[in-house]
């Protein structure tokens, strides 16, 4: 196995404790921080696929993201001068008003952080206008709304209305996530750009939006 394979494997096998020494060892072999980062991210991509196809479970998705965060603590300071060290994009994320569920949001935040995004977590039970206020304040690219219940999901529409009333609708992509979300219905009725019930799928969509944005 090559050093690159070890890096990928550290994430895929959730080597939470050992990942720091694996990264240090990789640096000693002469791999650049950017190459190390890319391989760690490849590992995270594999984990996302494994979750998506049912081979991995939620706690594994979480542990892989936490393992990645441990690695990033070493890698990120070294990347500052190097191309590729910049953030992949900024996501404002929160659970919508009336919804107090924290768990899915935390996992998605961990995954996005691990994938190189800057996450601004605005908490739970967040009034719709605050999503827009915060997105404007931190110059976000994407707004992520978490809503687990059929009764709270419709409030995502209020975020869309708030964006529209301030003339900001085209500035932000908005994604709704929650275990009970019916994607087709949510996009149609609430006007969000995407809706998912699978966190790894949400991360994939957010990444593709950022790639599109960078191409524009």
């Amino acid at each position: 196995m090559t050093t690159k394979d070890y890096l990928k494997q550290a994430i895929v096998e959730m080597k939470y404790e050992e990942v720091s020494s694996i990264v240090h060892a990789a640096l000693k072999t002469g791999l650049t921080p950017l190459v190390i980062l890319e391989n760690l991210r490849d590992g995270l991509g594999i984990v996302g696929d494994k979750y998506h196809n049912g081979e991995y479970f939620l706690s594994e998705l979480y542990m892989a993201a936490e393992t990645m965060k441990n690695a990033l603590q070493i890698i990120q300071p070294l990347l500052s001068d190097e191309k590729g060290g910049e953030s992949e994009g900024t996501v404002v994320i929160g659970s919508i008003e009336g919804d107090i569920h924290d768990f899915g949001k935390t996992i998605v935040s961990s995954l996005l952080t691990a994938a190189g995004f800057n996450i601004v977590d605005i908490g739970i039970d967040v009034p719709p206008p605050r999503f827009v206020d915060e997105a404007e304040r931190v110059k976000a690219d994407i707004i992520g709304i978490s809503a687990l219940l059929s009764t709270t999901q419709p409030s995502s529409k209020k975020v869309i209305e708030e964006l529209e009333s301030r003339g900001l609708r085209r500035k932000y992509k908005v994604i709704l996530g929650g275990t009970g979300v019916d994607a087709e219905m949510a996009v149609q009725r609430f006007g969000v750009d995407a809706a998912v019930f699978d966190g790894s799928e949400g991360v994939r969509i957010i990444k593709s939006w950022m790639e599109e944005k960078k191409r524009e």
């Binding site: 706690s59 936490e66 009336g98 107090i100 569920h101 924290d102 768990f103 739970i124 709270t152 009970g180």
Partner: protein, 374 residues
């Protein structure tokens, strides 16, 4: 056939006179239905719908001299819980929570956790030595005694162990911390689960001694996609410990009722193997109910209902009828089947959909099942 006989017949995998019906309705939905029918009480509403209270549950209660503080009473009023019930026992365990904001259209509010008292523990010995709510406290089982006296013969009485393993563990430790324990600090995770297991082992015996005819577990193991932890980890850590608790009821010929939201397909066979008799809710949005019936239908009773995430809030009356008829046609024959709402029907549910649900159940839920071509 009275409700208890009807339930016992279906649990015995024989066909009763009709399908036992249940309803989990939010306060707002209940009020809307009462207005719709022009009736005043919850009891009358259930009679109208054809829903019977066939089970009574009792967990442990607070000590006799316990007085709820003003803020707890306010919390209970806003969240819709009894001050002496399972959801307020957090008080004694040291878990802290806060109410969420009011949502237009909903009378009650949700709550969320703000403090997990075991989260800072770093040593197994801390788990082993921490004080738990005293089971010897005078009055602890008063509620259970009253329930047994009131409902003996009328309902099947379940001793509630409710959140006893997984849910209580993460309530005390914090969800993310406990998940991390399960992957990286197994001795800590096991110490937590064992401490709770010993405690609830004792609770189980005391409730059964008082006259409970079974044990009831409320543990959410999945989301719509899959389980929170890998099934093999569940089998290694939780299955033997659940078995130890299930056995308390089984050795006396009692029943085991297990509730878990979400897709728990991988462990249904394990639950059957260690003695679960009733599985709820076998969530229709994410589990193949027909497959559960086909594989385990002779051993486990499927206690389910219509989708409360999709059909009931968002579907038409026709969608409701179609889903109910499909469930009755395929799941009811041979017994081992209870039907109603698969979870709480929230305030966003149209009244006509709930009416259609129970009208269809009453009309087509009589044995022998005969469903018109649909």
């Amino acid at each position: 056939m009275n409700p208890k006989e009807r339930l016992l017949t279906t649990l015995d995998h024989r066909e009763p006179d009709r399908i036992p019906l249940t309803a989990n309705l939010s306060l707002d939905t209940r009020m809307k239905l009462q207005d719709h029918y022009g009736i005043k009480t919850w009891k009358e509403l259930y009679e109208k719908l054809g829903v019977e209270s066939d089970r009574a549950g009792t967990g442990i209660g607070p000590p006799r001299d316990w007085k709820p503080k003003a803020d707890l009473l306010e919390f209970c009023r806003e969240a819709g819980y009894s001050p002496a019930g399972e959801y307020t026992s957090f008080e004694e365990w040291g878990v802290k929570r806060k109410l969420g904001s009011k949502v237009p259209g909903a009378t009650l509010r949700q709550f969320f956790f703000t403090y997990h008292p075991w989260e800072h523990f770093t040593e197994v010995s801390q788990v082993e030595q921490v004080e738990l709510p005293d089971l010897e406290a005078p009055g602890r089982f008063d509620q259970a005694k009253r329930t047994v006296e009131e409902f003996r013969d009328k309902r099947l009485i379940f001793g509630g162990l409710y959140h006893c393993q997984w849910t209580r563990a993460w309530e005390l430790r914090g969800m993310m911390t406990f998940m991390k324990d399960l992957h990286t600090n197994v001795s800590m995770a096991e110490a937590i689960v064992d401490r709770l297991n010993d405690y609830y082992f004792d609770v189980a015996d005391r409730l059964l001694d008082l006259g409970a005819e079974g044990l009831s577990f409320n543990e959410d193991w999945g989301n719509n996609k899959s389980m929170f932890i890998p099934p093999n980890m569940w089998r290694r850590i939780f299955k033997p410990r659940y078995k130890r608790l299930f056995d308390r009821a089984k050795r006396r010929g009692g029943f085991v009722q297990f509730h878990s939201d979400g897709n728990i397909t991988p462990i249904v066979g394990d639950l059957v193997e260690i003695g679960a008799d009733i599985l709820n809710p076998v969530q229709p949005e994410c589990m193949d109910q027909l497959e559960v019936k086909r594989k385990y239908g002779e051993k486990i009773t499927i206690d389910t209902g219509i989708s409360v995430q999709k059909t009931l809030p968002h579907g038409t009356v026709d969608d409701v009828k179609k889903e109910v008829l499909h469930a009755i046609e395929h799941l009811a024959p041979g017994g081992g089947f209870i039907y109603g709402t698969s979870h709480m029907a929230m305030y966003d549910v149209p009244v006509e959909n709930v009416v259609a649900l129970y009208d269809t159940c009453r009309k087509y839920g009589k044995y022998p099942i005969e469903i018109p071509h649909h």
